[in-house]
Symmetry: C2
Subunit: 116 residues, 2 copies
Amino acid sequence: MTFCNHEEEHELASQRARTNMPAEEDIARVAAAFKAISEPCRLKILFALRQGELCVLHIVEAVGGTQSAVSHQLRLLKANGIVKARREGQNVLYSLDDEHVLAVLELACAHLHCHI
Amino acid sequence: MTFCNHEEEHELASQRARTNMPAEEDIARVAAAFKAISEPCRLKILFALRQGELCVLHIVEAVGGTQSAVSHQLRLLKANGIVKARREGQNVLYSLDDEHVLAVLELACAHLHCHI
DNA sequence: TCAATATATGAATAACTGTTCATATATTAG
DNA sequence: CTAATATATGAACAGTTATTCATATATTGA
């Protein structure tokens, strides 16, 4: 505690930071969710799904890459609650899990000043 | 185009997905920003900074780890526009870059049903 | 100027992640 | 049932990333 000789309000903030730190488990879940949407290929999938639900090969068309790679990415996105899937005959249709996902994307784009 | 035999609306969605896909450069920037906040250690830093600006060693106290590791993480967060820093004497005080950052965190937590 | 404190960084290693390839499973048409 | 189409997955390799260690830079007080 000999470090940081600035005002008392910062000391208090430091204490609050410790007491208000979320549980390790919640931190890990949030981190995993962000990691899921932190690769260009997976982000492209999400941007593609803004248009509505798409089958796997349509997603492959939209984002490029191989069917296998896209399928692996979809599994990761689904495992982290970013997208959901439903089977319709031979096809599996993917879509964004809920409105939070699109909201986060739009916030991020606003933050980075890119108009999408 | 022989795949995916479902309704016409999905075909149209697929076409729109291609035409409305953001530029590679924007995709990369968004991905990098999410990657920056996708590691537990860096997320803890952000949660700590909810309380206001903190010097490096207070952050180290709040999140654990070594000073060196935290400093590396802070550099990454700053390089991606997630946090900002200002020097005050011997200390460098870090804070969340703007209100978008907190908003994204809160949205993510709401999505995952964790109350923080 | 010298010592002490705070912060930053280069290099190396260890751990993690994405892609590819081959193949497996699932569904439907014939 | 068989063939064809759509989707999923295990294993291995390649590329990336986080941490550590040692050290460098910056600021202040004596």
